[in-house]
Subunit: 182 residues, 2 copies
């Protein structure tokens, strides 16, 4: 990962809330110039997003996202079981759980922070190819996921329609891969 | 905005924490099938990200992001003063505050949710052109922002280097605009 410069870990931390997905804390950081700043930070173990390409389409999922009170169209994704989990193993598990596929080919498209001002989450982005169906893996309990096979010939249409940041990054990275391959 | 289907607002909410940037709550939602699910949700007023293009370069900012313990390279951005603020007015203010520029041309490139599973934040993305210097506007107190003029001839290099989701979306949208204009 390119390095724009590291910052020191916090000098003081107060726990605010231990939640089911994120933990919230207030931390004080000493900057290189000596000043101390206070930040509210949400800890997150990290996540993966997968760009599954099957011949002439990319596989998306439509699902309810209560936080934004809407259904959204997204690439398959999920969070690491713990901060040290291998992202590729997590991607394989999520691909099976969310869209019932295994992949022969995996390619790292580069990762990114979701919201570096407030959230520690880093999302690893993989392209998955050579897909085959798998079954018998139960999705998480209260996920209601509808698989949407979106034609690559209308990738423009997906990029215009999607309203989820990680999915837009994944689809535009895919578009660049396809263009480079032409 | 394309509509994938709306969900009802929560039927019950418990406040967990009122913070400086985000408020955290636990809410119960009744789904169309009648089941009730509980979600921890962070409320956020929304934000803007700006793609400022000045002849042969795009203007980025390098700044400390304590939450991820790193400096990051990002497009200028900022949050709405309140949930009802006009996003374009917010974009004009942030462009002046962060990189001391005003713009003659503004174009809406489409917005997106930062993390629709946990955060209400929606980011409006604007391209700004016809830039002129402005001065005398003080940036927020503890922001330490370095302006980076990145050449459009190496937009590839920026897309490979940046690790911030909203900035990747903005730069790849810019790349598509430039390609469409050629």
């Amino acid at each position: 990962m390119p390095d724009e410069g590291r910052l020191d870990p916090p000098i003081r931390t107060t726990r605010i809330h231990e939640g089911t997905i994120v933990n919230l804390r207030s931390s004080d950081y000493r900057r290189p110039d000596g000043t101390v700043v206070r930040r509210e930070v949400m800890d997150h173990p990290g996540a993966v997003v997968i760009v599954p390409v099957d011949r002439d389409h990319v596989i998306l999922v439509r699902q309810p996202r209560e936080a934004v009170e809407a259904y959204t169209l997204e690439l398959p994704a999920g969070k690491l079981d713990h901060a040290g989990e291998d992202p590729l193993e997590c991607a394989k598990r999520e691909l099976a759980e969310e869209v019932s596929r295994a992949a022969a080919g995996w390619r790292d498209l580069g990762g990114f922070y979701t919201a570096p001002a407030i959230l520690t989450e880093f999302i690893h982005c993989f392209m998955a190819t050579g897909l085959t169906p798998v079954s018998g893996i139960d999705a998480d309990e209260d996920e209601q996921i509808e698989v949407v096979e979106w034609p690559l010939s209308d990738l423009d249409g997906a990029i215009a329609r999607v309203r989820d940041a990680k999915t837009l990054v994944g689809l535009m990275r895919l578009e660049r891969e396809l263009r480079a391959g032409c």
